[in-house]
Symmetry: C2
Subunit: 548 residues, 2 copies
C-alpha cells in the first residue's frame, strides 16, 4: 500500500465525490471539499446529510489539509462537522474562504479553524502532494480545479465547472494551464458529471443578462428575484440589471444579507453606491424603482418566496403588478414544492418568470460538449467521473470512451470505493464501510435505519397506544383498556372502531389467562388485524401493560 | 340561474378540471370524466385523491350522464367512488369503456353500472345537452373531444390531445369536424393546458419507433420496457418493435396483463399469434429473443421495475446484458424515486435508456403550437384553459391572447369556481366549497387536515408517550413515569435523556400538587422544552395519566 495512491469518494448512494474526496498516499491524506447533501423526500425529519468520514477516524493525524474547490453548500457545508473531529488546515480562495467563515462563525468554530487563502496559480505542498490551483468557471466566482502531483503521477480534479467564455466576473477558463498539464501527462482526471445527460454546451451565464433585460423592461411594478444565497454571480447580474434599469436593490434573508456583505467586502460583488437599500425602506420607493432579492427558489416552506406565496411574509405582500423571477434550478425532489410556490404566486396575481418559460437560469455545470472539450485538452490516461449519481457517471464514462479513453481506464465507482493507482495501473479496490450520516436537529448520526423506519410507519398511518391495566393479583384486566391514537383515524369520528378495539383487547386478555408473557405481541397482532380489516391501514401499535 | 349555463371544474389545488367537470343548466347536469389524482410527497399515507363532488350530493337526481373522454386513470379512476353516490349512465368509447370496466370489476360495481358505448361521430342527447364526440389523438387510442350544444351556445371540450399526424393507431385528428364546429360558432373552448409551458409542437408518437429500433438493434440480451399499464399505444409500439426484431413479448404485472387482454379482445392491440409468451417462460428462450413489458416507471417501491432494481423481483433478475427502457415521463414529485431506480438498475449492471438520453417517450399532450392550431381551427368566443396547474393555465391564457382572444374572454379559474354563461356573456362566479378527498386504505375522506398534521409531526420527529400513575388518594406520582417513544431518538442510546425526562415529570407532578387539572398541558410543555433543548427536535408528546 505504501507505494499506491488511494482516491476515495466518501458518502452514500447520492452524488459521488461531491461532498468529500480522500487522497491518500502512505501516511498522508488530503481531503477535497467538505459539503452537505440535502435529504430526499423519504428521509423523514432529516435536516441534511454529511458524508460518513469514519474512514478517517484513526487517521486524523495524517490529514495534511482540507482543500475547498468553491463556496457552495455541497462543498463547504459540512466543515463544522469535519473540523470537530479533524484539526487540519483549510485551503481556499478568498471568496470560498469568506463563505466558509460565515459557516464556521455560525457554529462558533472560527477561532479553532486554521484557514489559508490561496489563489489560482498558487502551489502548495502537503506531504507528498504538490497541489496547484487553476481557475474554473462555475456559477460562483473564485472556483478552482486542482492539479495534484503525487508520487505515482499527476491527478487533475475539475471541481464544479463549465467552459464559460463570457463569465460574469470576466475570468475565462484557464486553457493555457490545462494545456500545460496535458503536456506534463495526466494520470487521472476526476471530472464533474452533473450534466453528463445533456447534449451540447452549457450556455454562458451571460445569456441571463438578456433574459433579465426583457423582464426588467416589461415589469410595471416591483421585481422580486429568487435565487440561492451562494449564487454570488447571479446576485451581481441582478444588481447590474437594476443599475441598467434604474432600480434600487433590497436584499432579504439572513444568509443572503451575510453573503452579500462578505462578497462585497472581499471585492467579489461590485455594487455602485446608493443602489442597495435597506429592506425596511422598500415601501418608501415607487414600486417600479425596486428590485428585491430573496431566497426560497426550492419552495422551502419557511423561505421568503414560499411565505410570500401564501401571503405570510412579514414585510412583503405580493400584489398584482409584481414580477417574480425564479432564477435557479430545481434540485431533484423539490419540483413539487417549487411548482406549488409558482402556482400560489400566480394565484396572488403576480407575474412569475421561471426557467421553463424564460432563460432566467443557466446551469453552472458543463454539458457533454464541455466534457468532451476537457477530455480533448487534458488527454488523461485514467478517467474517474465524479459529482453525479450513477446515471450521470455512466453517461460521462460513455462520453469518455467516445473520446478515446479505453473502457478499462474509465473507472466508475460509487461512494466508498477505493481507487488504487500505482505508477503502472489503476484499479477499483474494496469498499470502505459507511454511507450517509443524517443530521437531525442537534443529532449527528444518531438517526439510523430503525428510527427512520419508525418514522415511515408513523407517517403513513400514525400510531395506536393501548394502555392495559392488569390486576396484579388476578392477572385479569382492571377496567377497560385505554386507546390513544394520532395520525391513524380521525378519533372523534371513530368511537365505534375504538370500542371494538377495546373489546378485542379484553378478549385477548381473557384468553391469555394469568400470564403476562407474550401479551404484548398478541395485542399487536390482534389489534393490527382488526385495524387492517376495518381501515386497510397499518398504524404502529404500542401496548403499554401496567400492573395495578 | 335557469337560463344560465354553469361550468364547474371540481377538485383541489391541483390540475384544474382534469378529474371531473360539471356542466349544469337548469335542472340538468352532465359530468365529464371521473378521475383520480396521485398524492404529493407531503400528503403522508394517502393512496390517491378523488375530486370532492359534494356539490352534487343534493343534485344526484339531475345528473343525466357521465361522459368519459379517454381511459387514463386521471379520467376514469374515480368512477367506483362516484358511482357509489351517483347512479347515472356512463358514456364512453369502446376502449375507454373496457378500461373503466376493469376498474369497476375490481370494485364489484360492474353489475350496477349502466355503461353505453359511443364512438367518434356519435351524437347523444342528455337533457338540454346534445353531445357530439369527435376523435382526438393522445397517448391512448379512442380518446374523444366533446362538442356540446347547450341552450346558450356551443361548448367544445378538447379532452387530452395533441395533433399527431402519424398516430400509432392510424387515426389522425378530425380537422373536418373542428372546422365544421367553428362554422357553427363556438361559445366556449375548454382545452388541455398540460404542455402550455412548452414551445413548439409535440412530436408524433411515431418518433418512438425509431428510438426503439436503435435500442433493439444494439441490445445484446433481454429488453425490459417499463411503461404505464394504460399506455396502450406504447404497448403496441413495443410489440411492433419486437416483431420487427424477431423477439417474443412477455407481459408482467396484473394491471398490464388485464389491460393487454382487454385491448386485444376489443381490437385496440394487434399482436400477431405466437408473439406473446407467458412470463413464466421467459427463461426458456435465449435472452436476445425476449422483450418484457413491465410497470414501475415512477419508481413506486412495490412495482416490478423497482423490485428488479434492488434484486427483489420474484421472476426477473437483472443481469449485465439486459437493456431497460423507461418509456414514460416523470409525474412531478416522482423524479427522485425514478432517478433512484435508474441508478440502481445501472448498479445491477444493466444498460438503462430513459427520456433524458433518448426519445423513448413523447408527451401525449399538445405544446404551444398545437394549442395555437386548435385556437386557429376553432376560433372560440370564450376560452377556459383546463387540465393543468395554475402556471399552465396562465401560460395557455397568454397563448390564447396572442391568438386574438381578448383577455376579458379568457377565464382562468381554479377548481371549484363556477363559470356562468348566458347567451351574451361569460363570467367567473362564486367558489363551490370543497377540494380534495383523500383516499387512504378503505377510508374515503376521513383523513383530513388534523390527521395529516399529526402525520407530519410524527414523520419529522416521532412521538413520546409519558405514562404517569397518580395515587388516587394522595394525587402524587405512584412510581416512576414510563416513557415510550418511537421515531424520535434511538431509544437504546438514549437512556440518559429518558431518565432526565422522567425526573422532569416527577418535578412537574410535585409542583402541581394534588390536582390533575392542567397536568397534561404542563407535561407537554415541559417535556417539549427539555427535548428541544437536548435534541432540537419536536416530537409529538402524549401524556397518559392514570389514577391507581
Amino acid at each position: 500500500m505504501a507505494n499506491k495512491l488511494r482516491i476515495i469518494p466518501l458518502g452514500g448512494l447520492g452524488e459521488v465525490g461531491k461532498n468529500m474526496m480522500v487522497l491518500e498516499y502512505g501516511k498522508n491524506i488530503i481531503l477535497i471539499d467538505a459539503g452537505i447533501m440535502f435529504p430526499e423526500n423519504d428521509m423523514l425529519g432529516i435536516d441534511f446529510i454529511i458524508p460518513d468520514f469514519n474512514y478517517l477516524m484513526d487517521k486524523k493525524d495524517i490529514v495534511r489539509g482540507i482543500i475547498l474547490t468553491h463556496g457552495h453548500e455541497d462543498h463547504v457545508g459540512a466543515l463544522p462537522y469535519v473540523l470537530q473531529e479533524i484539526k487540519a488546515p483549510i485551503y481556499a480562495t478568498k471568496l470560498t474562504r469568506g463563505l466558509a467563515e460565515v459557516k464556521l462563525k455560525e457554529n462558533h468554530l472560527l477561532d479553532e479553524a486554521e484557514l489559508n487563502t490561496i489563489q489560482a496559480g498558487d502551489n502548495i505542498a502537503l506531504g507528498p502532494f504538490r497541489i496547484e490551483f487553476f481557475h474554473v468557471c462555475h456559477s460562483i466566482p473564485d472556483g478552482v480545479g486542482l492539479a495534484i502531483e503525487t508520487p505515482v503521477g499527476l491527478v487533475v480534479h475539475s471541481g464544479d465547472f463549465k467552459f464559460d467564455y463570457t463569465p460574469v466576473d470576466g475570468k475565462p477558463p484557464d486553457f493555457a494551464k490545462l494545456a500545460e498539464l496535458e503536456g506534463r501527462g495526466i494520470l487521472v482526471l476526476l471530472s464533474d458529471s452533473t450534466n453528463a445527460e445533456r447534449p451540447g454546451f452549457t450556455s454562458s451565464e451571460r445569456v441571463i443578462d438578456d433574459a433579465f433585460d426583457q423582464v426588467f423592461q416589461k415589469a410595471k411594478g416591483r421585481i422580486i428575484v429568487g435565487t440561492f444565497a451562494s449564487l454570488i454571480s447571479r446576485i451581481q447580474q441582478v444588481v447590474n440589471a437594476a443599475v441598467r434599469h434604474e432600480r434600487k436593490v433590497a436584499i432579504t434573508g439572513y444568509s443572503m444579507v451575510e453573503n452579500v456583505r462578505m462578497a462585497q467586502e472581499l471585492g467579489y460583488l461590485s455594487i455602485p453606491p446608493g443602489v442597495l437599500i435597506n429592506s425596511d425602506d422598500i415601501d418608501k420607493l415607487p414600486r417600479h424603482k425596486v428590485v428585491i432579492i430573496a431566497t426560497g427558489t426550492q419552495g422551502e416552506p419557511s423561505s421568503a418566496l414560499a411565505r410570500m406565496s401564501i401571503g405570510r411574509h412579514r414585510r412583503i405582500k405580493v400584489v398584482s403588478d409584481d414580477t417574480i423571477v425564479i432564477s435557479a434550478h430545481a434540485i431533484p425532489g423539490n419540483e413539487e414544492m417549487i411548482n406549488r410556490t409558482i402556482n400560489r404566486l400566480f394565484q396572488q396575481g403576480a407575474d412569475v418568470v421561471y426557467e421553463k418559460i424564460a432563460p432566467v437560469h443557466v446551469s453552472g455545470h458543463g454539458s457533454q460538449e464541455d466534457q468532451k472539450l476537457l477530455f480533448s485538452l487534458t488527454k488523461p490516461k485514467y478517467f474517474v467521473p465524479i459529482h453525479g449519481e450513477l446515471r450521470h457517471l455512466t453517461m460521462h464514462a460513455r462520453t469518455a470512451q467516445e473520446m478515446g479513453i479505453p473502457a478499462s481506464n474509465t473507472l466508475v465507482v460509487e461512494n466508498g470505493y477505493i481507487l488504487e493507482f500505482d505508477g503502472e495501473s489503476g484499479q477499483i479496490g474494496e469498499r470502505v464501510p459507511g454511507g450517509y450520516v443524517y443530521v437531525d436537529g442537534s443529532g449527528v448520526g444518531d438517526v439510523g435505519p430503525a428510527v427512520m423506519r419508525d418514522r415511515e410507519i408513523l407517517a403513513s398511518a400514525g400510531f395506536v397506544v393501548a394502555v392495559i391495566r392488569l390486576d396484579e393479583k388476578t392477572g385479569q384486566a382492571a377496567g377497560r383498556p385505554e386507546i390513544i391514537s394520532r395520525g391513524f383515524v380521525y378519533m372523534r369520528d371513530s368511537a365505534e372502531l375504538i370500542e371494538r378495539a377495546q373489546d378485542k383487547l379484553l378478549e385477548v386478555l381473557e384468553k391469555s389467562g394469568r400470564g403476562r408473557a407474550g401479551i404484548g405481541d398478541k395485542v399487536r397482532d390482534e389489534l393490527g388485524k382488526l385495524f387492517y380489516e376495518e381501515t386497510k391501514r397499518r398504524p404502529m401499535i404500542m401496548p403499554v401493560i401496567l400492573e395495578v
